[in-house]
Point group: C2
Chain length 124, copies 2
DNA sequence: CATTCACTATTACAGATGTAATCTTTGATA
DNA sequence: TATCAAAGATTACATCTGTAATAGTGAATG
């Protein structure tokens, strides 16, 4: 799988929220947030198909697009490469970055606690 | 400060380990690890100077290069942007992935606990 | 059935990036 | 002092990216 660019990632996010979707559905969602022209979004969709990250099936005149690459896999892969490349293999600086942004919500903390509990179970 | 590309980052890492260094010192360290031609490394150094991430002072015929952008700042900035761009501001999915791959280390968990403790302090 | 739309496919083009090669300058050497 | 060699500066060139515009095609409409 080829690398996915930043602009392409925004398109993937839309497809990850819901799939399949027509090009126009994707365009609409991105028009709000990003000011992108319809043609731009369609180019990005095409490139993603070329890269094997998105597939489509015909539905009459239009196509229905779906992600091939799934978000959890993408996030894991990118995180691992980011941690190696930028953080020299250490997760801690990333957590620190998170802390400084002060954007932890109660819900997140609960989730993190659960993760820790599970992890500690497995260590025994 | 402009973005630093992946190849440029490798040059920064060498300068972060030690500074100042001549172009040739940098070249030598990268020749081992990366197969880069001398000219390539010098181009990267130049681009980094152009981007304001590296400075130099003359030392006779050669230049001595030093990082302007420091590694901790770079790591923090990149981490925050990565958290937003790739993780949509949420840490849990990433950690879940790591846990699943048994890549979560005790050190990471300790850091995570601290993060949570700090958060809980702030809530009071 | 001919024409027009609405889609997709193809093409465009400038700036960034990877990866060097060539040009210019200047200190070192014969 | 004239020449050479090594540093940095400039130029090169294919890809990738961001951001569209234009061309082609088949389904819907008059």
């Amino acid at each position: 799988m080829k690398e996915i660019s930043q602009a392409e990632l925004e398109v993937m996010k839309v497809l990850w929220r819901q799939a399949p979707q027509t090009a126009n559905q994707v365009v609409e969602q991105l028009a709000d947030a990003s000011q992108w022209h319809e043609k731009t979004v369609k180019t990005l969709l095409n490139r993603l198909v070329g890269k094997g990250a998105v597939s489509f099936e015909k539905d009459g005149r239009a196509y229905l697009y779906s992600p091939v690459l799934q978000q959890p896999e993408y996030q894991l892969r990118e995180s691992q490469s980011f941690i190696q490349r930028v953080l020299s293999g250490r997760l801690a600086p990333l957590l620190a970055g998170f802390a400084e942004q002060q954007q932890l919500k109660a819900e997140d903390v609960a989730e993190l606690k659960q993760l820790i509990a599970k992890w500690e179970q497995e260590q025994k």
